[in-house]
């Protein structure tokens, strides 16, 4: 990874030098191997769009750019002839080429082409299946039509005569939006800080956009939603553009989504803000409805730097992290990173119940219990799962929960009662299906 990172830096050097000076491309690449000593000290994201140069130099770069584009198109063509994982030239469109021109190395291009190839193959197979299904539907419809001609009675069923009122998606949407507008007036606020566009590459930005969309959706679904604010939104950045693709009406005034370009410190008083970041030391113990919690809208698969911590320190805000270590046994599966919609779900449950155990149920199980341990349990206790266990009336759910005194636990112990009132539930053969009840029950 170090080598690819250094190549990214050199690649951005190449792009910027092509934009700024009139040197031919081969010289630029030779000089860029001399080392990034003349790189400016600020962080240069190799995947951000290059800053437009002065207009005088643009003519030269256009030619260079055209030349490079042609060579890259030839590259795709030849790789396609060799049978590698690249899409056909006809599949690639302008915005694909835009992105390809920003990629710094050949290996990055190969990975992007493999991704496009997968999309192309899926599309083709989808088209084939759709054609097949259309045929089948035609056949089916023809049969049904034939049947109907012979039928003189009323037709019951979905789509015909039925007593059920059809509920449209828009009705549900209006109902949920109404909940959101009420939340905007009365509910506690949560802020999604969208200022990390420059630290994410394009793939991470699209993932972040999808997670933000899911945040909004799951917040809306809940009985008591938060008042969700998206602050520091750079509307021309790739994250927000992706979000607009998911929710096209995002910026309409009547749509109940708060998108702000200014920072949350300008909108809310500083003493109420708490930044949730995994890099700090203090756990969040109790949920305080007067505090406004901030979640950094960042997908940091490639980035290891504590960016949210740095931001909170610079602004002098309070910081907290979720008490994951205290309530969960973390497995060796994936790291301790949670997606944005999982965070929103956790905060929603925390607000509604105040119980961390219930809230942290939204952490995916594959991260929590170790995989092999789980499998070992399954394999060793073949008596405890499956139909045999059910017949022998063995229950294991209480075994898998954490119990204080493990000596009391045994496979054959009856668990807590599944139903509270068992009196009316016992099977009485005399009165079964007769409609009469024994006098004893009625007195109770």
């Amino acid at each position: 990874m170090l080598k690819t990172l250094s190549r990214w830096r050199l690649g951005s050097q190449l792009l910027r030098s092509a934009a700024q000076t009139v040197r031919p491309a081969s010289d630029a690449s030779e000089n860029s191997f001399a080392g990034p000593e003349d790189l400016p000290k600020k962080f240069v994201n190799p995947f951000s769009k290059p800053v437009p140069a002065a207009s005088g130099a643009i003519e030269e770069t256009k030619e260079d750019r055209e030349k490079r584009l042609k060579v890259l198109q030839l590259e795709v063509d030849i790789a396609h002839q060799e049978g590698r994982r690249v899409p056909a030239l006809s599949f690639m469109q302008d915005h694909h080429w835009e992105h390809v021109l920003t990629l710094p190395t050949k290996s990055a291009r190969i990975k992007y082409f493999a991704y496009l190839w997968q999309i192309e193959m899926k599309k083709e197979s989808e088209q084939r299946k759709r054609a097949q299904r259309a045929e089948d539907t035609q056949q089916r419809l023809a049969e049904v039509r034939k049947e109907r001609e012979e039928n003189t009675h009323i037709i019951y069923g979905l789509g015909h005569t039925s007593m059920f009122l059809r509920i449209y998606d828009s009705t549900i949407n209006h109902w949920q939006n109404n909940r959101l507008t009420r939340a905007m007036q009365f509910a506690p606020k949560i802020v999604m800080d969208c200022s990390y566009d420059s630290h994410m590459n394009r793939r991470e930005a699209t993932y972040a956009a999808k997670q933000l969309m899911l945040c909004f959706a799951e917040n809306r679904l809940n009985d008591e939603p938060f008042d969700l604010h998206f602050c520091n939104a750079q509307l021309e950045g790739s994250c927000m553009q992706g979000l607009k693709r998911f929710i096209p009406t995002m910026l309409n005034p009547e749509f109940p989504m708060n998108v702000h370009t200014q920072c949350f410190t300008e909108l809310f008083p500083k003493q109420n803000l708490v930044y949730l970041t995994p890099h700090c030391r203090e756990d969040l113990v109790t949920y305080n409805p007067d505090d406004i919690y901030i979640v950094g809208a960042m997908v940091d698969t490639m980035n290891n730097e504590p960016l949210s911590l740095a931001k909170a320190k610079r602004m002098g805000l309070r910081m907290a992290r979720l008490p994951l270590d205290r309530y969960l046994q973390w497995g060796s599966g994936s790291g301790k990173s949670l997606t944005l919609n999982q965070m929103i779900n956790i905060m929603l449950d925390l607000k509604n119940t105040g119980d961390w155990e219930a809230a942290l149920k939204h952490v995916p199980r594959r991260k929590v219990v170790q995989g092999s341990e789980f499998q070992q349990r399954k394999e060793r206790d073949s008596w405890s799962v499956g139909t045999r266990a059910r017949k022998l009336n063995m229950r294991v759910d209480h075994l898998l929960d954490y119990v204080d005194d493990r000596r009391k636990v045994s496979s054959f112990e009856t668990p807590k009662k599944l139903r509270e009132r068992r009196e009316g539930m016992e099977f009485q053969l005399d009165t079964w299906a007769t409609g009469k009840q024994k006098k004893k029950q009625r007195n109770n």
Binding site: L2, K3, L5, S6, A25, S26, S29, E30, F33, A34, G35, P36, E37, K41, K42, F43, K67, R68, K70, V71, L72, L74, E75, D77, I78, A79, H80, Q81, E82, G83, R84, R85, T105, K106, H279, C280, R281, E305, P306, L307, L309, A310, K311, K313, R314, S372, Q375
Partner: protein, 533 residues
């Protein structure tokens, strides 16, 4: 074939390990450019290895079976796939036969097919010199490919380079192609090595040698290691022209020293053979090992010290804080107030003899120890240096104040102590204090400092690594009795270098690897060379 391999594995490997291995088999996806192994073997063994040519309808049959049998092979790429299968030197005739068949069908073979044909020519060239007609064919193909497009893409250029290298007189045409590759990507190790090897083995002209050395320099600056064949070609040429030996060999050894390259065992053996062929006053070579304190067993001399020059040291210490601690955002690793407080503290209490990374030392015997044991370990290390009457600075974090009071008081009384906030990274502070103290200060940590080496940039990284090798103590372990075992730094150089009297010591490794990882160990095998000046 794949199934047989699976079965064999199942017999040898334990159950639990096998589960995980099987899981990875499921996730592993084969690269599409190659056929799945069993089908490849079948095609190769049935048809391609036995026959030198196939009739028209047999080729049609092969094509049809490939296109029908595989989802990813269609009429566009079946030609290149077939030529990819016949890539052995003995299958040159078969490959040409297929291309003729395509022409007889009326369809011109596409660019990828021709490129792969050039690769087959190259494979044949390594076994036997090519005839004049074959070379003419190669040139014809190159002309066809270059006529279509003004600028070619990287993979076509590499095919062309490999094809041209197989000819006798026209390999110079490959040089502008190398420049063409640089438009879209860096040229591969194979392309560079092929050209450099050809330049070394071509007829005697000093420009060829200079060209070869220029290519090698380019490769090494791009952090690509030249293949063994390049060195072997050079040594073969020197065997034929003994007059060139001192100058060229010296250039080779200086090249290895500058880029800190370890050659492979093949090259070392060839060097020894060369030394045996030449008279003793020109070149002598002996395989040797290193004794204690870097003493060569063959010539009984100590290796050169690894110290860096004062100028380099000054450069390192000036750039360090800026590049490693502050970088783009000082808040990621520390805060401005803390950096100024630390700088003032170091001004006050410098110079030191050793700077200790308190947390690294404390946790070196295990992370699950109690705070008393951790603090005692730090105190033991401080005592180790105190007994040698050395001035020590200990770095740590605020929470160390809550460790055992007795041990921390001992540390405070016998050393300088600086504690950063619990959220800051303490490694950059450690290195800054050591650099600030001067050339003689050592530091004590088990950390390999890889991220800091990277952030310094490719120019300062080798300087930093040499400085680190010279000054880093690390704690190995603590014995039962409470004594600590410390690993002293290696104070001699670990790459090819020259001693004062002209003896070269050259380390070498087992085999050539494409991307060797950084090794912090002393190489086991060395070659002691005496070269006439």
């Amino acid at each position: 074939m794949n199934n047989l391999r699976l079965l064999r594995h199942l017999q040898h490997v334990r159950y639990s390990k096998c589960l995980r291995w099987m899981a990875s088999q499921h996730k592993r996806r084969p690269q599409l450019g190659q056929l799945p192994p069993d089908r490849l073997e079948q095609l190769r063994s049935d048809l391609f290895e036995r026959r030198q040519e196939l009739a028209g309808d047999e080729w049609l049959e092969v094509r049809r079976s490939l296109v029908d049998g595989h989802k990813h092979i269609n009429t566009h790429n079946v030609d290149a796939v077939i030529l990819g299968v016949c890539n052995k030197p003995s299958q040159l005739a078969l490959a040409k036969n297929y291309v003729e068949f395509l022409r007889s069908q009326g369809s011109e073979p596409n660019a990828a097919t021709l490129g792969r044909l050039l690769r087959v020519y190259n494979a044949a060239y390594h076994e036997r010199p090519l005839s004049a007609t074959e070379q003419a064919e190669i040139l014809q193909i190159c002309d066809t490919l270059q006529a279509d497009h003004e600028t070619l893409d990287a993979s076509s250029c590499e095919h062309l380079i490999h094809g041209l290298v197989a000819t006798n007189n026209d390999w110079q045409r490959a040089l502008p192609l190398l420049q063409m590759v640089k438009i879209t990507s860096t040229p591969s190790v194979a392309a560079y090595s092929a050209l450099a090897g050809k330049a070394f083995s071509a007829e005697e002209q000093p420009e060829n040698l200079d060209l070869a050395w220029r290519l090698l320099e380019e490769m090494a600056s791009a952090r690509k290691l030249p293949r063994c064949e390049v060195y072997l070609t050079l040594l073969d040429r020197l065997a034929k022209q003994p007059s060139q030996v001192p100058a060229q060999l010296r250039q080779l050894l200086q090249f290895l020293e500058r880029h800190e390259i370890l050659v492979s065992q093949r090259v070392a053996e060839r060097l020894s053979k060369l030394a045996q062929q030449l008279p003793a006053h020109v070149l002598q070579a002996k395989v040797t090992q290193l004794g204690a304190l870097g003493k060569c067993q063959a010539c009984q001399q100590h290796l050169q010290p690894v110290a860096i020059s004062d100028e380099q040291f000054r450069q390192l210490s000036e750039c360090f804080l800026e590049r490693v601690l502050i970088r783009s955002d000082v808040f990621q690793r520390s805060s401005p107030k803390e950096v100024t407080r630390f700088k003032k503290y170091v001004e006050r209490t410098a110079p030191y003899d050793c700077v200790i990374d308190g947390l690294n030392v404390a946790y070196s015997t295990g992370t699950k120890k109690s705070p008393q044991q951790l603090a005692k370990l730090v105190a033991t290390v401080v005592r180790h240096f105190r007994e040698q009457d050395k001035r020590v600075l200990v770095l740590g974090r605020e929470h160390m104040r809550n460790w055992s009071k007795q041990a921390m008081h001992y540390v405070q009384n016998n050393a300088s102590l600086f504690l950063t906030s619990n959220l800051s990274q303490d490694d950059p502070f450690l290195l800054y204090a050591t650099l600030r103290s001067g050339q003689d200060t050592d530091f004590f940590s088990r950390d390999l400092m890889r991220s800091h080496a990277f952030h310094l940039g490719p120019e300062l990284k080798p300087i930093f690594r040499r400085w680190q090798q010279e000054h880093q103590f690390s704690l190995i372990t603590q014995t039962q009795t409470g004594q600590i075992i410390v690993k002293e730094p290696i104070r001699h150089r670990l790459c090819a270098h020259e001693a004062a009297d002209g003896t070269w010591h050259v380390p070498y490794c087992e085999a050539y690897t494409l991307n060797p990882t950084e090794s912090f160990e002393v190489p086991a095998k060395w070659l002691c060379l005496k070269l006439r000046p």
